[in-house]
């Protein structure tokens, strides 16, 4: 076994374990923390693949910015433990088989498929340069469109919040 394989298995176990823990925990903060663990483990897997920029962006944007906001809101609202009702129990009985089925189908498809050729510029050297060039030339329109979408969402939130005040 190579070092990379050991690291991959370790990170994969942490990611899957964190994801399962995310659902199993009853307290929202614990769930949010598990989600952070999943995201950091995924960033580690990106690093193993040589996608350093993606790994850093994953941590800065998801684990850093977005999850901090999650935790902040949970703390601000002082959300308590999740209460189990009849419907949430029904969801468990329905959800677990569905999840198992989905995993089986996805796993089967992935095991069957052959790895395709690498996209151009997907080597590790100069990856960040390649990615930014693509982002600001070929994909500049969808990229800017996304930022406008987020801006509209922010404006919407401000309008909604102001109306209540």
């Amino acid at each position: 076994m190579t070092v990379e394989l050991i690291l991959f298995l370790l990170l994969a176990v942490v990611a899957v374990g964190g994801a399962i823990n995310l659902i199993a925990q009853t307290h929202p903060i614990h769930s949010a923390l598990s989600l952070i663990v999943v995201m950091v483990a995924l960033a580690g897997i990106y690093l193993l693949l040589g996608a350093e920029l993606l790994a850093m962006v994953q941590i800065i944007v998801y684990a850093g910015a977005i999850m901090v906001l999650f935790v902040f809101i949970i703390m601000l609202l002082n959300a308590g433990k999740e209460e189990r009702t009849a419907i949430s129990r029904a969801a468990t009985y329905l959800g677990v088989p569905c999840g198992v089925l989905l995993t089986a189908v996805l796993g089967w498809r992935m095991a069957m498929s052959q790895p395709g050729p690498l996209a151009p510029g997907a080597d590790t050297e100069g990856m960040s340069r390649e990615l930014s060039t693509l982002l600001f030339t070929r994909y500049v329109f969808p990229f800017e469109l996304t930022s406008i979408l987020i801006l509209v969402a922010i404006l919407g939130v401000v309008v909604l919040a102001k109306r209540e005040m």
Partner: protein, 404 residues
């Protein structure tokens, strides 16, 4: 020895050296801060434990270890114990990507003077900074105390807000490097001087003065240091997020704050003041500056020995002269031909970091804590627009220079 063994030995040695130095610096930074603040306020500061209070950090450490460590009722046990570990380990990780010096030859091996070499070390620092919010936020939440929660909430909002201008103010520097790089070593090398111009004139602090001001203020806020230490404002929040923490868990938060301060000082020196580069021109005429580290250690040692011999306690009469002799020894070692080249980078970096740390302490003893709404308004309505304007202006200038 195989290549892997050599690599492993070098890597472990680097980690051990950097960790020991960082922990010592963090411990003595508390002494340094108390001394400086005391002298600025016309007091003596720590004076009892050892000569000039030099053993105070050890005494503090022993006190933290042996104090009672009560766990309050109703805390979220896992998060409560996890938060200090998270805070400290994240604060001490960032030092790994700092370029501490150029490539040097030690015992026939070419060694980069940094723990890890990464093309994206700037982003690594920001990634770890982004995560370090959790230590404070979770500590505040898990303590089951309203004051702690308020401190945690405040600091989360504060760190989120100032992280924006912190990141934005660095974009100008990345734009100015040619070819553009996100590695801290690349940024340092971009500030290297030429034969005619001294290195100091290439420092990014001059073209990026706006970015520097934004970065410095944001860095102070990001490390929760005075005048932005609202997370622990003792007059309003008892102790903020660490109210319910005692003993060694409190010490871990304490160390995390100082380690973050050291990291921020490293970042300021590396990004704006040429990192490990000497401020003098790299010519034969200025070769004497290579002897500056040795000369400083020698002069310090020579001054310390007679001062120590006349000290008023017996311990001081022994300890201070021994330290002076050790300094003289260090000075002699630093002048040896094999060592003198290796010591240059770390010396200049340490000197710059020391100055920035002094300014940090100076700020704390000078400025009163600002109000929370002022803090938020300042971050969002002043720092962020200014750092954005800096990005726009820098990119305009860079584009104009490229097209000329």
């Amino acid at each position: 020895m195989s290549d892997f063994t050599v690599w492993l030995i070098i890597a472990v040695a680097k980690v051990i050296v950097v960790m020991v130095v960082l922990l010592t610096v963090v411990a003595y930074l508390s002494w340094f801060e108390r001394k400086i603040v005391a002298h600025i306020q016309s007091r003596w500061g720590p004076e009892r434990v050892g000569p000039h209070g030099l053993i105070q950090p050890l005494a503090d450490g022993a006190k933290f270890l042996f104090k009672e460590d009560p766990t309050p009722e109703g805390v979220d046990r896992f998060v409560y114990f996890f938060a200090p570990f998270l805070a400290l380990s994240l604060a001490m990780t960032t030092i790994a990507v700092m370029p501490l010096g150029p490539q040097v030859r030690i015992f026939g091996h070419d060694i980069w003077l940094s723990v890890v070499e990464s093309d994206l070390s700037l982003l690594v620092v920001f990634a770890i900074t982004a995560l370090s919010v959790y230590g404070v936020a979770l500590a505040g939440w898990a303590s089951n105390n309203k004051y702690s929660l308020l401190g945690g909430l405040r600091s989360t909002a504060q760190m989120l807000s100032y992280e924006l201008s912190l990141t934005m103010s660095v974009v100008g520097i990345v734009l100015m490097t040619n070819p553009n790089t996100l590695s801290l070593r690349g940024i340092v090398e971009a500030q290297r001087g030429t034969a005619t111009l001294p290195g100091a004139s290439h420092w990014f602090v001059f073209p990026q003065i706006l970015g520097f001001v934004c970065f410095f203020i944001s860095a102070v806020a990001e490390t929760n240091r005075s005048p932005f230490d609202l997370a622990e404002g003792e007059q309003e929040l008892v102790g903020g997020f660490h109210t319910e923490y005692a003993s060694f868990k409190f010490a871990m938060f304490f160390m995390a704050e100082y380690a973050a301060m050291v990291t921020a000082s490293f970042m300021i020196s590396v990004l704006f003041f040429g990192g490990y580069l000497s401020p003098f021109p790299e010519t034969q005429a200025f070769h004497w500056t290579f002897y500056l580290p040795a000369a400083m250690a020698l002069i310090g040692g020579v001054l310390l020995v007679p001062h120590g011999l006349r000290y008023h306690t017996a311990l001081g009469r022994v300890l201070l002269p021994v330290m002076g002799l050790a300094l003289i020894g260090v000075g002699i070692v630093c002048a040896l031909s094999g060592v003198i080249g290796i010591i240059q980078g770390p010396f200049w970096l340490a000197a710059k970091v020391f100055v920035v740390l002094f300014i940090y302490v100076w700020l704390r003893s000078t400025l009163p804590r600002i109000r929370y709404d002022q803090l938020m308004a300042f971050g969002w309505k002043f720092l962020l627009p200014v750092s954005l304007a800096n990005v726009v202006a820098t990119s305009l200038l860079v584009a104009l220079r490229m097209n000329r």
